[in-house]
Amino acid sequence: MTDLESKLTAEIANLLDDKKVDVFIAFKKAESPLHPQPAFFTESNQLGDFVYNSLCQNNLAAFIPRYPLSARIGMVVRGCENRAVNHLVVEKQHARENIFMIGVPCEGLVDWHKLVNRFGEEMIAVDEAKDEIMISYRDRQIRAPRQELLHDSCLRCVHPNPLSADVTIGELKPEGDPTLARTEVAAFSALDNAARHAWFRKEAERCIRCYACREACPMCYCTECFVDHGVPRWTESTVSPAGMRAWHIVRAFHQAGRCVSCGACERACPMDIKMTYLTEKLNEDMRTKYQFECGMDDKTQPPFAAFNLDDKNRFEL
């Protein structure tokens, strides 16, 4: 057990023993080394399985809308998860006073796609040190620099520190560089229309419409998603280009002003489909047009839920 894990365990045990929360959402060990499993602890004696490391791929805030507003939820949060919680509070998906966040300044997540693409499916264990990842096979071990395996969203992360956790464990990290986050969107936008379109098609048309991206996203909590709607049918139901492109366009667009750049959608995808180049474009536009960044507090309405006569002259007439 790492130092961080033992500190977290102690905190969580206290919360559960003092009955300050009804459930504590964190991770536990799973047999597959690449995917620790979201876990829901209700008693401190269940914490034996507890694990917390850079392979914990999910955004745990995605589980919050499953609970009634009155449930007292404890959660371990990284920067993006804290922001997701904040925004869920803005959208009235839970009451802030009923969430207890233990914050962990985030080192960045190791992307399982990058691991598998580079090291194959034969890994039997993956361990981490500060700057290195150790990959074990049945008969040998390999080391690789952590930086090369971080998820793209983490490489461009601007706010790795939890902003409003109730307790924070560990030392705060320096803020990320906002220009870095923008360079990629800018580079994509600089391509011509045909090139952008070609990239979009190449990614979208590999989709198998499993909707893991949706289910993994803290903001996709609609009881009925537009793709599941039968009458009227908004988009084609098939894996035709029409259906798959519509899914990618509209899912991303529904995140305009609501996305916290966690990358959980991309990490959930079984087909290695890139999709944060869509949401990051929207995030960038929300920043430049409306000076809005999602999840920075738990009060400010996103641009599409608010409107302002001040933007009267911003549009072509």
Binding site: R196, H197, R245, K289, F315
Partner: protein, 143 residues
């Protein structure tokens, strides 16, 4: 260059044309290449409508509505302007050129402007190639 008339989908807020002649013109005399979708307010235009038009092979989409502070429903147009403008930018991001989506926000004295704006739009679209990005149901049915 398009060798035939560009297909335009016009989403029109039913309150935005203040003069009866303009509305009659839109209702009865739109050229065949312009398809009218009348809505109770621009605020009612779901981005999925726009997408459906684009996937159906629209070379251009025009949205006409009322100016801010003149919305029949007070603020439907304010939300619509933010969302639809962003959606047009977003479509551009994945290859459907920004100038294929046009807005015309109409005022009381804008008599006859809808005809002019549509004509201008059509002229501009004619200079562009047929829209292929995102058109997935071309040769679609209109019956």
């Amino acid at each position: 260059m398009i060798d035939h008339k560009p297909k335009i989908i016009l989403f029109q807020c039913q309150w935005c044309l203040y003069s009866a002649e303009d509305q009659t013109w839109v209702d009865t005399q739109l050229p065949v290449n312009i398809h009218l979708v009348k809505v109770p307010c621009t605020g009612r235009i779901n981005t999925l409508y726009v997408l459906n038009a684009v996937q159906g092979g629209a070379d251009g989409v025009m949205i006409s509505g009322c100016l801010p502070e003149q919305c029949h429903f007070k603020e439907g147009n304010l939300g619509a302007r933010r969302q639809l403008d962003q959606f047009a930018d977003f479509l551009d991001h994945i290859g459907y050129e920004r100038n294929r989506v046009r807005f015309t926000w109409l005022d009381l004295q804008d008599r006859g402007r809808i005809q002019r704006d549509l004509a201008q739009f059509e002229a501009d679209l004619t200079k562009m190639p047929k829209s292929e990005a995102l058109a997935t149901r071309v040769g679609g049915h209109h019956d």
